[in-house]
Symmetry: C2
């Protein structure tokens, strides 16, 4: 009998006994995260997850209620992982944006933010990387869209947008800055999706450094209006 009526976030008695179940739950979650991230909600079967996690089918129901509950649990885990990896840098920027911010200071924060994001995304090994999961859910909303949008997408875009506005001393409108923000973030996540394919032709390089350098250069060119804008 399941221990909870709301299986998506099962209640756990305070007593730390029965720890084995927690490990099983974590193992299922890790397998599901990789599987869903790779192939999407519909492509992955519950049996496949159960087999790879070394459990039997009803274990998924026992721990997560149903397939959708497992998927939502993955989304929550992803949000937690992002907070763990990006929370500090994001909070620093949030705090700085509370008071007037000089363009150069904003630029430095922007670089630090994107460098942290690049490191966070490119450091996580492929199967456990949360980027593809999030990308998929944003591109074609599924059960976890609202969570990921409210907890990751919107705050991320807004933070980057605000920093870009400050970096350019208000030369860009809110919409223009938002377009830049989405373009920069998308370039990162898109690069990550293409990474396995890139490694197919080019060898293994220090892509983290290369990506951070490219983004830093792009951020540098943000506040400057002395470009020689040639023809279209």
């Amino acid at each position: 009998m399941p221990r909870s009526a709301t299986p998506a976030t099962p209640l756990r008695t305070a007593s730390d006994g029965y720890r084995k179940g927690e490990e099983t739950r974590a193992r299922i979650l890790a397998v599901a995260l990789a599987a869903f991230g790779n192939s999407g909600f519909a492509s992955v079967t519950t049996r496949q997850i159960a087999r790879e996690a070394g459990v039997n089918l009803p274990a998924l129901t026992y721990y997560f209620g149903n397939k959708r509950g497992l998927y939502l649990a993955c989304a929550h885990a992803i949000v937690a992982r992002y907070r763990e990896g990006m929370g500090a840098v994001a909070l620093t920027s949030y705090a700085a944006l509370q008071e007037p911010l000089a363009p150069d200071a904003a630029r430095a924060l922007l670089k630090r933010l994107f460098a942290a994001l690049a490191r966070f995304l490119l450091a996580t090994p492929g199967a456990q990387n949360p980027s593809l999961f999030v990308q998929r859910e944003i591109a074609s909303p599924g059960p976890a869209f609202e969570i990921l949008y409210a907890e990751l997408w919107r705050p991320g875009i807004e933070l980057a947008t605000d920093l870009i506005v400050q970096t350019t001393s208000g030369q860009l409108t809110e919409t223009e800055a938002q377009v830049r923000a989405v373009l920069m973030i998308s370039s990162l996540t898109g690069f990550l999706s293409g990474l396995p394919v890139i490694a197919r032709t080019a060898g293994k390089a220090d892509y983290v450094a290369l990506v951070i350098a490219a983004l830093a250069r792009q951020i540098d060119s943000l506040g400057r209006d002395d470009q020689h804008c040639a023809d279209i």
Copy 2:
């Protein structure tokens, strides 16, 4: 009885008789393209496609052999659409790259290439937009990966990479240039994926112009090394 033993690309007798079938085939293909692009191969059922196309289930088998064949036909249609929309601009660049190319000329070609790509991708209405289909297949290879990789991804990346190398007068290594190319292309496709979500907060703006302007500015900053590269 199906008219062909290789249903993926059914043979059609030269006589233009029986034209009604060709229309039905096109209708199924259009519906499938939108459905697969939105939700991926596994999420879409053959019945759903048949219903939306106004045909019955065996019609899919009759025209495309099986679900996989229909999916591959979608991939081929996407390649054709890309060729139609981008072929001219791409060929111009290919021709120019045959002989030595001045940085400013390469930069102009690069701008024109990305402006065309942005227009092509952002102009196509959401449901019929091929970008999501391609993105999905590149991020997690499915039945159509080889086609899209060989016909779209690799040539596209290579062309942009070569133009970037020429624009920067060889200041960037092949790998560095490739990273920039993937980042720029990914930013476009990623932006497209986020567009429905963006329109949720910001209103409807002329995103085409904004995106083209942002990319042009980024291209302008490519060949210049007088940046004030501050802290990380």
